[in-house]
């Protein structure tokens, strides 16, 4: 049984409970009073419209729309501007809930595969935890080549002027491709993160079993 099937089975007909137990800050979802201030305050919802803006997602969770919520591109539009958090009259940590639902959908393998921000988010975390520090050049290259080599060259060409401006201003170093900045105790960082993942996994599993 896949992790997804197991979880769907366990929380059958209670998607709200599933979100409460498995998603960071998920226990706040029930506090939403559907005023819509979050959706009206969201810059990407304003500019290009989410499939389901936050207050709609909260209602969908309560209505048990598991498949729709976990497969939507919506949360991946979050820019982490925190406008929804500071304006929410019920003080829901909406930004964190959006990240939490996105992380959960990603963990279950249900998030839209090639959604660019989902891809970039994973890339960023791998990039910064690999050596302990972000390698900006490798991060950008990783993103450009997401859809294959030919598309990567094309993307790189489109970014040429931007990159050249940064190189001239000494704010992009082409030698970052060979090594670059890093922490000394990388071994310690890896061991520490491995432990953190272990603990987090066992805590979530305990909730599911309990």
């Amino acid at each position: 049984m896949s992790a997804n099937t197991a979880l769907a089975e366990k929380y059958r007909n209670n998607f709200l409970k599933e979100i409460e137990e498995q998603v960071e800050m998920g226990d706040w979802v029930k506090m939403c009073m559907q005023c819509g201030v979050c959706s009206g305050s969201c810059p990407t919802n304003f500019q290009s419209a989410w499939e389901h803006p936050p207050q709609e997602l909260f209602m969908m969770i309560r209505a048990g729309k598991r498949e729709e919520v976990l497969t939507t591109t919506s949360m991946w539009n979050c820019t982490s501007c925190y406008n929804c958090i500071v304006r929410c009259p019920r003080k829901l940590p909406i930004t964190h809930i959006m990240h939490g639902i996105a992380e959960y959908a990603h963990r279950l393998g249900m998030a839209p595969k090639m959604q660019p921000t989902r891809f970039f988010s994973g890339l960023f975390w791998k990039n910064c935890t690999h050596t302990g520090r972000v390698n900006e050049l490798k991060l950008s290259m990783g993103l450009y080549f997401k859809d294959g080599f030919a598309q990567g060259i094309k993307n790189g060409m489109a970014m040429q002027a931007v990159a050249l401006g940064l190189v001239k201003a000494k704010r992009l170093n082409v030698f970052e491709l060979f090594g670059g900045h890093k922490c000394k105790d990388q071994k310690g960082i890896q061991a520490m993160l491995k432990k953190a993942y272990e603990i987090e996994r066992s805590r979530k599993a305990a909730k599911m079993a309990g």
Binding site: V86, R87, A102, C128, A161, R171, L172, C183, D185, E200
Partner: protein
């Protein structure tokens, strides 16, 4: 001994050859004038930033920040941690808040830190550089060092998101913070308090992953600055600075605009006003050159 001493968390973008290296250069010059001593936390690591959320989970993300707390406590005991980057500051403050409010999370964090031979006994204070300037030094002290006021330069104060929300600077409103305008005034330039895009989001990480969405927002931010007659934009955030500055060419192509407005850090304005030269203010680090500031920085200082 310096008047003020802090443990310094410069962050990834401030490193040599990285996107905000000009920020660091100008902060160092500024701190020299203000007698503020910043000691880098040895072997600090990335805060994980908000965009790492797909794989960061909760504990791993807090453990990353906690490692910096532990290193700071071990090497620079008793000192408050100062970050110049909005995301570093936010990430670290968030971790501080979560660990303080949850014994379980704190215990789990300590267990993970043990793997790296580290521990936390005391939770450090996490400060942004602008908090240090406003709260620990104050506007009067900052103003005392101005020897070359930026007279007649109209500057739009773009505060952005993460230095403003969800924590922000104490006493400021989320919708209309005024400290940046006061800093513009302090260096002798002309602020634009009615600049209505001052807390608009620049698109953050979406500037990389979904540029069309971020650039629609950046367009509003730049356009409004022009509408108010600004000659340049100033910001306290490295990602705001980069996003608003470096994509103006692409925005021009996309929308047929003719944007070419310099985007500065508050520290660069201060260094020039404090009598520093272009190099000390890292004006050579601008992709869109700030000619007006370069001219002022080349003038002799009235002492």
């Amino acid at each position: 001994m310096a008047k003020h001493e802090y443990a310094f968390y410069p962050g990834c973008s401030s490193q040599k050859g990285a996107s905000a290296s000009n920020y660091l250069t100008s902060v160092e010059s500024m701190c020299k004038t203000l007698d503020v001593k910043l000691t880098e936390i040895p072997d600090w690591n990335c805060c994980g930033a908000s965009i790492g959320y797909a794989e960061a989970g909760e504990l791993p993300r807090h453990v990353m920040n906690a490692r910096n707390f532990a290193l700071s406590e071990k090497n620079l005991p008793g000192q408050e941690i100062v970050a110049t980057c909005a995301a570093c500051w936010l990430g670290a403050r968030e971790t501080r808040e979560r660990l303080t409010h949850s014994d379980t999370l704190m215990a789990d964090t300590r267990e993970a830190l043990k793997e790296a031979g580290l521990t936390i006994n005391e939770m450090p204070e996490i400060r942004h550089m602008v908090e240090v300037l406003i709260e620990d030094l104050g506007f009067d002290e900052m103003k005392k060092h101005v020897v070359r006021p930026l007279e007649g330069v109209k500057i739009a104060g773009y505060v952005g998101c993460q230095t403003n929300r969800p924590f922000g600077v104490a006493g400021e409103s989320f919708e209309n913070p005024v400290y940046l305008d006061k800093m513009v005034e302090m260096v002798g330039a002309e602020p634009i308090p009615e600049y209505e895009q001052k807390v608009t989001c620049c698109g953050g990480a979406l500037a990389f992953s979904e540029p069309e969405k971020a650039q629609a927002q950046i367009k509003d931010i730049v356009e409004s600055a022009y509408d108010h007659g600004a000659e340049m934009i100033v910001t306290p955030c490295p990602l705001c600075q980069a996003n608003v500055e470096i994509y103006q060419g692409q925005i021009n192509q996309r929308y047929g605009t003719k944007f070419n407005i310099p985007v500065m850090y508050y520290s660069q304005l201060m260094v020039v006003a404090y009598g520093g030269n272009a190099k000390e203010a890292a004006l050579n680090g601008q992709v869109i050159k700030a000619r007006r500031l370069e001219e002022i920085a080349a003038k002799p200082v009235k002492r």
